[in-house]
Amino acid sequence: MKDQLDQRIHQLVTEVHDAAPVPPPLELIAPQPTGATAGSRRPILAAAMVVISGVVALGAVVVLRRDITENPAATVVESSVPSTAPVATTAPPTSAEEGRVAFEIESEADGVAITEVDVDNQRCLRIAGVETPAAASSILTCENDVQPAGGPLARPGVLAPQREEGTGRLVFVGLHDPGVATILLRVDDGTLPLHRQVIEPTLWAPGDIAVALVALPAEVSQNASSFTTELYDNDGTVVSVGGGTIPAD
């Protein structure tokens, strides 16, 4: 009897063991750079989104400190590009249109990996695994004055997906604010859930706003027609529910 129970427990443990995900590359979980102490944090002024261009690593997390000013200057401070093929950022517009300030990051080489960007001389962004193709490509947009309780980005928390050119993948951008602990993302084909993923950036400090990029594989995106999101607070209470349709190819 004892042996039979041991066998069942071993099967149970094996099943849980086999369901464990494969760890991501270490670079994706590296702590975000800290340019300020907790005492310097100010009330929320900014949210952020990343416009996808090129190859984005699955589950890449971008953290944006909340004290982004209205007209930040951006500089790429770390990338894989050799010095002979410089990376440059355009100056942000002097007047932000509806609070949006866009940066264009240009390079003269293919496959440039932008790993760190300064905004206002503070290393507040780390973009892991983002590669831009040669020539101009807009990969970073900062949006100011988006309050957590309103605004186009703050809720429902996950933006409508973009199709990643050349890969067929769907890329979702999930926005966290201090009131939201978890986003549950479901992608459906109209009848069955094709994919379910918990978006839970864990590397940001209290009060920061984090953006999680979720890239779904092509085989999921081919059949996906809609997505739904549920936002939970720390107590597990649903804060809001959202979603939308996914246009066909």
């Binding site: 041991d6 094996t14 099943e15 464990a20 995900p21 991501p24 597990g236």
Partner: protein, 150 residues
């Protein structure tokens, strides 16, 4: 051993261990938390002869810290695992139900005993508890699982 080397060697095993403690969805985040802290303070690995006890204990501590702040959410994740993503990850709803009946420490000792095949003394060393505690938790775990899997 550097943090990079430790991650390369132990991340997969620790993620599988964490899956037993918090479920597959959160396992990567837990291990990520542990290594994010190590990257910030790599000196924590200095002088360690055997890294496994330290890392396994760190995962358990990270799980406990998360459990304090979002106990309810963890329950929801396990609950969802039986009907949503769990259909892919954990095919047997009985497995999910059975694991949910165990405390975090009971999940840890069960995993280390049944998957890692460690003896009571080694498990006690990894978890920094007495051998008596390990035996008690294993017995309670077996008792709960006997009922759950009956």
């Amino acid at each position: 051993m550097t943090v990079e080397a430790a991650y390369s060697k132990w991340a997969a095993a620790l993620t599988q261990y964490a899956a037993m403690l918090v479920g597959p969805d959160d396992a990567g985040d837990v291990v990520g938390d542990v290594f994010a802290r190590l990257l910030a303070e790599p000196e924590r690995l200095d002088g360690l002869i055997d890294h496994r006890p330290y890392l396994y204990r760190s995962v358990l501590n990270a799980v406990r810290m998360r459990a304090r702040s979002d106990r309810r959410r963890n329950r929801r994740e396990w609950a969802n695992s039986s009907s949503q993503h769990g259909a892919e990850l954990l095919r047997d709803p009985a497995v999910v139900a059975a694991v949910r009946r165990l405390s975090v420490q009971q999940r840890a000792v069960t995993y280390l005993a049944y998957w890692e095949d460690l003896d009571v003394s080694t498990i006690a060393g990894i978890l920094a508890v007495s051998e008596g505690t390990v035996r008690r938790q294993l017995a309670r775990s077996r008792s709960k699982l006997r009922e759950a899997l009956a």
